[in-house]
């Protein structure tokens, strides 16, 4: 298997193996627990979705206000230099959503970051392709490495657990997240240069002046 094939990691394969091995273990250790384990997962999914629905309703409303006040436009102007460096050639609408997504992430407002991120990816999409572009990967990987400035939840949990110096971890956590974000940018930039894009995307160039699209 070539390295690039290995890196085109499939969620389906992970999902399949996770379920298969787990179910096999249950079969031999506690077969009677199989149904309850599956159902508890489904229930958790519903609980989480209901919580998310509430969070989305609040944040999408706040976002609506911010949009009508032109705040998102101002935010995107602030972030534009960075966005254009990392994700070249996106539409102004996508840039706006990316700016909201990054700002919300930094401030630890995960609830606002997710809908903005989903919207941004939707804007970055050409409407038919089944393969993520370099810019999409950049946004998702940045989000997945957390660019949060102050991990408020963790600090609150430390206080609750009786820590004498709950804020001690802010600095290491900030430096670590900075490191992981820089590492993420480097990884995405170098991997997108190395891994050839699948054929389906070659023809369409649109806004994505992807560095490596031109070089191939």
């Amino acid at each position: 298997m070539s390295p690039s094939r290995f890196l085109r990691f499939s969620v389906n394969a992970v999902f399949f193996s996770l379920l298969l091995v787990s179910m096999a273990i249950i079969l031999f250790t506690a077969p009677d627990k199989a149904m309850s384990a599956l159902l508890s997962g489904g229930t958790e999914g519903i609980t989480l979705s209901v919580k998310l629905l509430a969070i989305y309703a609040v944040w999408l409303s706040v976002l609506k206000m911010a949009e009508k006040l032109d705040l998102t436009e101002k935010l995107s102007r602030l972030f534009r230099p960075l966005i254009r460096k990392l994700m070249k050639g996106e539409s102004p609408k996508a840039e706006k959503l990316i700016a909201v997504n990054l700002a919300a992430n930094m401030l630890g407002m995960g609830g606002a970051a997710t809908p903005a991120g989903i919207g941004a990816i939707r804007e970055m999409w050409d409407g038919k392709s089944d393969t993520a572009t370099d810019n999409m990967l950049m946004l998702v990987v940045l989000n997945a490495t957390s660019v949060q400035l102050i991990p408020a939840t963790v600090v609150a949990m430390r206080i609750a657990a009786g820590s004498g110096s709950a804020a001690d971890i802010i600095l290491p956590s900030l430096l670590a997240t900075l490191f992981s974000s820089v590492l993420a940018v480097i990884l995405v930039k170098t991997l997108s240069l190395k891994i050839r894009k699948p054929k389906s995307l070659k023809g369409f160039k649109k806004r994505g002046e992807g560095v490596f699209l031109d070089s191939k």
């Binding site: 379920l19 489904g42 629905l53 939707r122 820590s163």
Partner: protein
């Protein structure tokens, strides 16, 4: 200090909306409508991932895997006790929060292990959840190297976090 940010932000938005004559109630109704649509597209992904995670935990597979990972992790400076937390963070936000709570109580919030766990948690995200949900409104299926790159970057961040906890 940071608790003031949100109410101040909302009040500022409300005042500006009043000045610019923007109908706030209408904004919330529209927001709610969009939220309903959004959760519809996101739910199938959340349900699928939640089911897999539940089975992964209940079967004891996650415990076995974390035992195998404990030694290589401690070699990289990450306490082996945190192996299960490290595995949970990318897949389940709620699961990771519950596990961090246990670790803070069991080892003490100010112990080296407790501080490492907090710093790791504060510097990483639920990679699988984000990768699944962010593409949910498109028909993008091939994420190329998104997940390995994110996992690797987070892992690098965790090593740095533990290293820094030795000094800070």
């Amino acid at each position: 200090m940071s608790v003031y940010i949100l109410p101040v932000f909302i009040i500022a938005l409300l005042i500006f909306s009043a000045i610019k004559k923007i109908r706030v109630y209408d904004c919330f109704v529209e927001g709610g409508k969009e939220a309903l649509k959004l959760i519809g597209t996101v739910f199938p992904y959340i349900a699928a991932v939640s089911i897999a995670i539940a089975v992964f935990k209940e079967s004891g597979f996650s415990a076995v895997l974390s035992k195998l990972l404990a030694y290589p992790l401690s070699f990289l400076g990450i306490p082996g006790e945190l192996a299960e937390l490290m595995m949970l963070i990318p897949v389940s936000g709620n699961g990771a929060v519950a596990m961090l709570e246990n670790i803070l109580i069991e080892y003490g919030a100010d112990s080296y292990i407790g501080r490492c766990a907090s710093a790791i948690m504060g510097s990483s995200e639920t990679v699988f959840y984000i990768s699944a949900v962010y593409f949910s409104d498109t028909s993008v299926k091939k994420l190329r190297f998104a997940i390995p790159a994110a996992l690797l970057a987070n892992f690098g961040g965790s090593i740095v976090a533990c290293l820094l906890c030795r000094f800070i």
